[in-house]
């Protein structure tokens, strides 16, 4: 039964009813505090997405700046030497064609050309020598202090207009820097960054305040594994915890709040990002590039449909060309059922009322709703073979370990700084370690150690594969290669 409290309290409702109630409250309660709605486990209802042009969206994704502050181009050249792009990315135009894929040029009102970070920094990654748009980069290093790099870049900034642009950018990054760092390679601080940005903005005007306007998020930054974009078209909620419902664009462009200082600017980004969202919905996963034992995969499909489909859906024989058979249930699975590390879901609910209200009140929540849940969404599994490490926090290095909890290393590290695929275990090659990071003297060595004993980094739960026989597990792994 739904639990409902009045006034400023928290409402817990079945997920399917949450949106309707939320809308009713918003319509009926003009001028009142927005309701804080916490979803109950179960199916997340669909929501109509605005129509966009995928082709225009791709062009915009590759060439338009969503973060509108950055380093003056002249200083970028002086600091980095303007290295040539490492990967071929068709569709990059003008100056962007000369920049690494993570960077996009933007001309500020001052006329200064800026180099800004774009979505692809996290949401694209190399795979077998090619850049895959939509593949989360699980090798990013957020252990570096952005303040040192960004302030230090000032040594190469010349000119008053350039200095002013650099200062704005550096000030923003300094304000969120404590929430923009993790101490483990691959652990992404996105959740904490977004909360920190919200705390510095007026939800109504989006004006930036150097002093935080509400409590800043906890100092302890939780790790996030970057989810693949090619599942967005199926997902009814953007985030792992079922948060980000309704129209997805507002939730997606929350990332741009680093420098989006007015509703007018947000509205402009929202307009072209509707096309980007339409493009993202057309993305498909990369095909498994190595041989697949078809007979074994067929056995695995039976195991999958028996054990996995209730939450993860049904993909049909070899997924791709069998759309009619595909069904994805958008299930938010309760924490006590999935059993995976609860910290991320709890952070978005416990004491998070101010952030939820901020979102609902802001331009970003105009067409969408936060509605976090105390659980995690069982994701669509297309291209799952490419998305190691697994679980929302990236704590399990391979699918083999995900399906056998006794095989999950307590401490592990990537085997090398470059992704190297392990075709037997389905994941990036890694090494299990017997001790945590303390065994290494230098921070440079420590940062490679994923320590699952730390808060938020746990690798427990999702032990549904433990009951499988070895033969079933082997067959299931083979099937997952086909998705």
């Amino acid at each position: 039964m739904p639990i409902s409290t009045s006034g400023r309290g928290r409402r817990i409702v079945p997920a399917s009813a949450a949106l309707a109630i939320g809308l009713a409250l918003l319509l009926g309660g003009c001028g009142e505090e927005p309701a804080v709605i916490i979803a109950e486990p179960g199916e997340i209802p669909p929501a109509k997405q605005r129509v966009g042009d995928p082709q225009v969206g791709r062009q915009a994704l590759l060439n338009r700046a969503v973060v509108t502050c950055g380093l003056p181009y002249s200083a970028y050249v002086a600091t980095t030497g303007a290295p040539a792009p490492e990967y071929d990315l068709p569709g990059r135009e003008g100056r962007n064609a000369e920049l690494p894929y993570q960077l996009t040029v933007f001309t500020a009102d001052s006329g200064v050309e800026l180099v800004t970070s774009n979505c692809l920094g996290c949401h694209a990654a190399p795979l077998n020598g090619e850049l895959v748009i939509g593949l989360g980069n699980e090798f990013l290093d957020f252990t570096r202090d952005p303040v040192m790099a960004v302030e230090g870049a000032g040594a190469f900034v010349e000119g008053d207009a350039e200095a002013a642009e650099w200062q704005k950018w550096a000030d923003r990054l300094a304000a969120i820097a404590p929430w923009a760092m993790t101490d483990t390679v691959g652990a992404n601080p996105a959740q904490a960054i977004t909360l920190a940005l919200m705390a510095h903005r007026d939800p109504k005007t989006l004006a930036w305040s150097d002093m935080p306007l509400m409590d800043l998020p906890p100092a302890e930054v939780l790790p996030v594994s970057v989810p693949p974009w090619w599942n967005l078209g199926k997902k009814h909620a953007v985030f792992y915890n079922g948060q980000g419902r309704g129209d997805h664009v507002g939730t997606m462009i929350l990332a741009s709040t680093t420098c989006t200082d007015s509703v007018a600017e947000a509205r402009e980004i929202d307009r072209w990002f509707t096309d980007v969202a339409a493009y993202l919905a057309t993305l498909t996963p990369p095909a498994y590039p190595w041989p697949i034992d078809q007979a074994l995969a067929a056995d695995g499909e039976q195991v999958f449909n028996r054990e996995c489909k209730e939450c993860h859906g049904r993909y049909g024989r070899y997924g791709r060309d069998t759309r009619r058979e595909t069904r994805y249930p958008n299930q938010l699975v309760a924490l006590d059922e999935v059993g995976t590390d609860p910290a991320m879901a709890e952070l978005a609910v416990d004491g998070a009322e101010d952030y939820i209200r901020w979102f609902e009140r802001s331009f970003y929540g105009r067409r969408g709703d936060a509605v976090p849940g105390l659980g995690y969404v069982a994701p669509p599994l297309e291209g799952v073979w490419a998305t190691a490490p697994y679980l929302h926090n990236g704590s399990v290095p391979s699918i083999a370990a995900l399906l056998d909890s006794s095989a999950r290393p307590t401490y592990w590290r990537h085997d090398g700084a470059e992704p190297d695929y392990d075709q037997a275990a389905l994941g990036w090659r890694h090494r299990a370690l017997t001790e945590g990071r303390e065994q290494f003297a230098s921070l440079e060595a420590q940062k490679w150690v994923y320590d699952t004993t730390r808060r938020g980094y746990g690798n427990q739960g999702h032990d549904f594969g433990d009951e499988l026989t070895d033969a079933e597990r082997t067959a299931l792994l083979e099937y997952l290669k086909t998705l």
Binding site: S117, R144, M148, Q167, A180, I193
Partner: protein, 413 residues
């Protein structure tokens, strides 16, 4: 929740920044003496020597070009001596002494060799292949500092540098460098005072730039180790001897630090950091503590104020090991007490707090005496400081020197 945003740009930035920071850590120590980018040392230096030195600076010159040093670079024993195939090099010795009464005395001798042409065929001692610039400072606590500059062509015995034993001399200023198992000696006379010290190496040399690079992010896809120069330091020399003034000998003893560096002019002079660069200004701190440890720190901050000052330190342990400490591991900030220079009008913070919780260290730094400003180019405060505080609850003290840049009002807009 959503994208990591602008933070990702930090990765390519760091690749080039750290090597330059390593250079700044060195170059600031003597930037005012490098003949860099037209900024000639403006003082009572030998005008003939300066005129002879400068026209050739930008020309193709036949000097050897050094590849950038990687994090694994280590000096050789003969690197104490001169490198005539290199355009510029530096011997920079500074230390803190105490007299019999325990009164502190700071000193520093900086010698910069600037090659005029590569000394390949002719012995350097017979022709004016190079000019040696020098500056000496002696800073007693209770008397005005003595400061003196000079320059001479490295010819006819006026000035020179030798390899065996390693030594460098500029007229009657002589520095014999201490090698493993062999004591060195410093003899300098200026302003009616003579300093005569025996120098003994207590620790093996360290390479601060290499330490900084070794601790730097090593991203895939190529690295930039920065400009070609070499730099090592003898981080702890035991110094003892006497100070002669008016025929009276005053016994003194203490510790000293020697910086040795060489490379191209572009690397060490015009291309490096001065006391400020772009939007940044730099401060540098070199400390030797009486528990056998050292700290070499740089702090950069916005020249026009605001922002987050960023300190970085290379810490030397009593056993000779080094460790890099970064912003989040350090507190380095001015405390009350600023001094306005009557010469330049610059207002310098002469009292600082340096804390490194990871080392259990909390220090207060104070200028030995305020009047140690240098106005040879852009004004900097460059002088002797004392340090006191505690490490893990135990009292610790020491001294060293501090360079403060970018505190003068900007001129010419």
């Amino acid at each position: 929740m959503s994208v990591g945003g602008a933070v990702v740009l930090a990765v390519p930035l760091m690749r080039r920044l750290l090597p330059w920071l390593a250079l700044a850590l060195l170059a600031l120590s003597a930037w005012w003496l490098w003949p860099s980018g037209g900024g000639v040392p403006r003082s009572a230096l030998d005008p003939v020597a300066v005129a002879a030195a400068l026209p050739a600076l930008d020309a193709a010159d036949g000097f050897a070009v050094l590849a950038p040093a990687g994090p694994d670079w280590l000096p050789l024993p003969e690197d104490l001596g001169p490198h005539p195939d290199q355009r510029t090099e530096l011997w920079d010795l500074s230390g803190q002494l105490r007299d019999a009464a325990g009164e502190p005395v700071g000193f520093r001798l900086t010698l910069v060799r600037v090659g005029l042409r590569a000394a390949v065929e002719r012995p350097a001692t017979l022709a004016a292949d190079a000019v040696l610039f020098g500056r000496f400072a002696l800073v007693p606590k209770r008397a005005p500092p003595i400061q003196s500059e000079r320059a001479s062509r490295m010819a006819a015995g006026l000035a020179g540098a030798g390899a065996a034993p390693p030594a460098v001399w500029l007229e009657d200023w002589r520095l014999a460098l201490p090698a493993r198992g062999t004591d060195g000696r410093l003899r300098v006379a200026a302003g009616g005072v003579e300093l005569d010290l025996t120098l003994r190496a207590v620790k093996d040399p360290i390479a601060p730039a290499a330490a900084l690079l070794g601790a730097a992010p090593r991203a895939a896809g190529g690295e930039d180790d920065g400009p070609g120069f070499r730099w090592f330091a003898a981080p702890r020399l035991a110094a003892s001897g006497q100070l002669l003034r008016g025929g009276q000998a005053l016994p003194v003893s203490g510790t000293a630090w020697l910086d040795r560096a060489w490379g191209g002019v572009a690397a060490l002079g015009a291309g490096g950091f001065g006391a400020s660069r772009g939007q940044l200004a730099l401060n540098r701190f070199l400390l030797q503590l009486d528990d056998g440890s050292e700290l070499l720190c740089i702090q950069f901050r916005r020249r026009r104020g605001g922002g987050t000052p960023v300190p970085t330190c290379v810490a030397g342990a009593p056993d000779g090991g080094t460790r890099v400490l970064r912003r989040r591991e350090l507190t380095l900030e001015p405390t009350a007490g600023a001094w306005r220079s009557p010469a330049s009008g610059a207002v310098y913070p002469l009292n600082w707090r340096l804390a490194a919780p990871a080392l259990g260290l909390d220090l207060t730094l104070a200028a030995l005496t305020p009047a140690q400003e240098l106005t040879l180019g852009e004004p900097v405060w460059s002088g002797a400081v004392t340090a006191q505080g505690e490490r893990d609850g135990q009292a610790v003290r020491g001294g060293g020197r501090m360079e403060l840049g970018g505190y003068a009002a900007p001129t010419g807009g």
